[in-house]
Amino acid sequence: SSAPQSKAQRFAFDPTAAKFPLGFVATGLHCGVKKDPSRLDLGVIISDRPCSAAGTFTRNAFVAAPVVVSKEVLAKGRGIARGLVVNSGCANAVTGSQGLKDARAMSDQLDSFLCESNSSSATGTLVMSTGVIGQLLPIKKILSGITSSTATLGSTHSAWLDAAKAFMTTDTFPKLRTRSFELGGKEVRMVGIDKGAGMIHPNMGPPHA
């Protein structure tokens, strides 16, 4: 006789047995891209050391600025990166040269933090944006948000869940999962976040394709 569970309840991430990968921290916050201050719109994920990095990207001819910049980061670092910054609410797509500048500024802003916070000189921040097409990012708010985000980075379930919430647009629930398995006699862990509810029929390929 109880009310049926919502999707958010049925597909909620169960953290009880979760094992997050070592060496990564994450956070999510509201920086002002979305109008509603209760909705998170900026996520940051970084590693405490350089990572092998790979990506698959849309084959749409109108490639958004963050896609261009993420491909540049992978090419420049020869497959090495350390961080990811994502905003939701504005896609930074079809935004011309200013859009490219803004996406590069997001990457550079987190790179600056990585340089200051670690003796390793390796940087490389991938960038993602999602939301409305054809509008410029409120870049000052985002850059300020990236600076603020470094105070709340963490490796807890709560930190990863906030990062997952920061990816969301019309999604009705955050999409966060983990798994662990043995590889070469060692336990390895994975965490995954994704988002998407509409404009979904991906056909992605590697950056050099």
Partner: protein, 226 residues
Amino acid sequence: TLLGMIATDAAVTPASLQDALTYAVDRSFNSISVDGDMSTNDTIVVLANGASGSVEISEKATPDEYIKFRDQLTDFAAELAQLVVRDGEGAEKFVKITVKGSPTYEAAHKIASTISTSALVKCALHGEDANWGRILCAVGYSNPGFDIDPTKVTVSFVPVPVDGSAELKLLVNGEPEHVDEARASEILKSEDLAIQVDLGLGDESATYWTCDFSHEYISINADYRS
């Protein structure tokens, strides 16, 4: 837009990580459809920092461990991809479409994609109408690169989870079955269901995940910019 990231503490060379991700995405995120539209921003990235202390994986140096890692990544990516379909705008059904009996994986994938994108198939799924003619029609115009033989095609509904009862065959070798509409209705009432198409032309197969089209989808997208 689809965005996703996977972070792991496994150690993998950059080139092998890219190959593993490309393989995984083809069988997961590139095998889902909500509304048939491709975004300007779709991106999936993976970061591997080696903090677990595991041996570094590479296709050439450690092929067995590479395959294990690649398959784990593929399965994990499919789990994440299916969450997107579950949360498709206005979606009330979660539908697994498998095309088998194909000469190539690519052709099976293309046919499954065509069925998954058909607005009429997706409306029928929403209405719980066992309209197999729309499924067959989509197969017929999918242009897979070879001639489909209509006399070899079999289409079935499969209950999910498999409840012990047999799949419901709608068309066998091109001949319409006498469909038990009550049984069809029972299968289609479930949130989860599977459609299976056997081309009878080979051994390759591919799977797609899609959802229905609902009134709510229109409501959400009629004023997205505002």
